[in-house]
Symmetry: C2
Subunit: 135 residues, 2 copies
Amino acid sequence: MRSDCPLNYGLEIFGDKWTLLIIRDLMFFGKRYYNEFLSSNEGISTTVLADRLALLEKQKIIKKQKDPEHKQKIVYSLTQKGIDLLPIIINIGMWSSTYSKKVSDKMECYFADIRKNFEKGIAALKAELSATHLE
Amino acid sequence: MRSDCPLNYGLEIFGDKWTLLIIRDLMFFGKRYYNEFLSSNEGISTTVLADRLALLEKQKIIKKQKDPEHKQKIVYSLTQKGIDLLPIIINIGMWSSTYSKKVSDKMECYFADIRKNFEKGIAALKAELSATHLE
DNA sequence: CCGGATCCGTTTCGATACTG
DNA sequence: CAGTATCGAAACGGATCCGG
C-alpha cells in the first residue's frame, strides 16, 4: 500500500486540532492578531499558538504582515491556498450538523456571528477604499 | 466568541492524524482487520490503534462485527455516518493535489489503487450474492 | 493465530513565567 | 504585543503478555 497518498499532504493541517481552530478564526471570526487567537474559547497556549502560526506560514496557508497603522502589531491573514480550504471547512460543518443535534440547534447563532463579522469586514473595506480615493 | 461552533464537533475526528488514516484505509484501501490497519505504511502502534478504533466506534463512525466465516476475526466497517465523510476526504485530496506537485504527480497511481480495491469489493459482493441465490 | 491490554522508556505537548 | 524558556503532564512506540 502506497504511503504517499493525497490525504497525507493535508494531514499536517487536518491531523491537528489547533491549526484547524486558527483557520476557523481567520476564516469566519475575523481574528487577525496573536492576542485575538489566544483569547478564543478553546484556550490555546502561547507556545502552541506560536508553533502553529509558524507551521501555517511555512506551508503558505497564512501570511504575516506588519500592520501599516500600528507598527508594533503583526497582522495574520489567509493566503489563497488558505482560502481554498473553505469548502473543506464548510463540509465538516455540514457533516457535524447532520449528526449532532447540539450542533444543528446552534447553527443559526453561528451563522449570525459569521454574518456580523462579514459586515464588519465590508465596512472596513469600504473605509479603506474611500481613504484610497481621497488620496 | 462562541466556542460551540460546528467545526468543534468534527474536531475529535479531524483534529487527529490517526483517525483520519484509519478512515482513509477503510474508505479507499479496503482494510477491515486490526492487522491490516497495523501494517499501513504510517506505522500506527497497537496501543494507539486500539484507542482510535474504540473512539471511532463510540462516535458511531465505524462498526465492529464478528467475521461470520472466521470466528476469531473481527471485521471493522464504516457506518453511514462514516461513509458521509467521503466528500470531506475527497475535498482534502483535491486541495492537496492543487497545492502539492508531489501529490498531483501521484494522483493516477492513487486512483489505480482505489479502482483495484473497488473491483475487489465488487467481486466479493457478486460472490456473496450468487451464494445467497444458491441457498 | 487474532485482537487487544499492560508496562515502560522516549518524545511531544502545553501551562506558566518571563523577555526583547 | 509577540513571542521564548522551562518544566511537568500527556501521548506515543515497541515489546510483551494474555484470553479466546
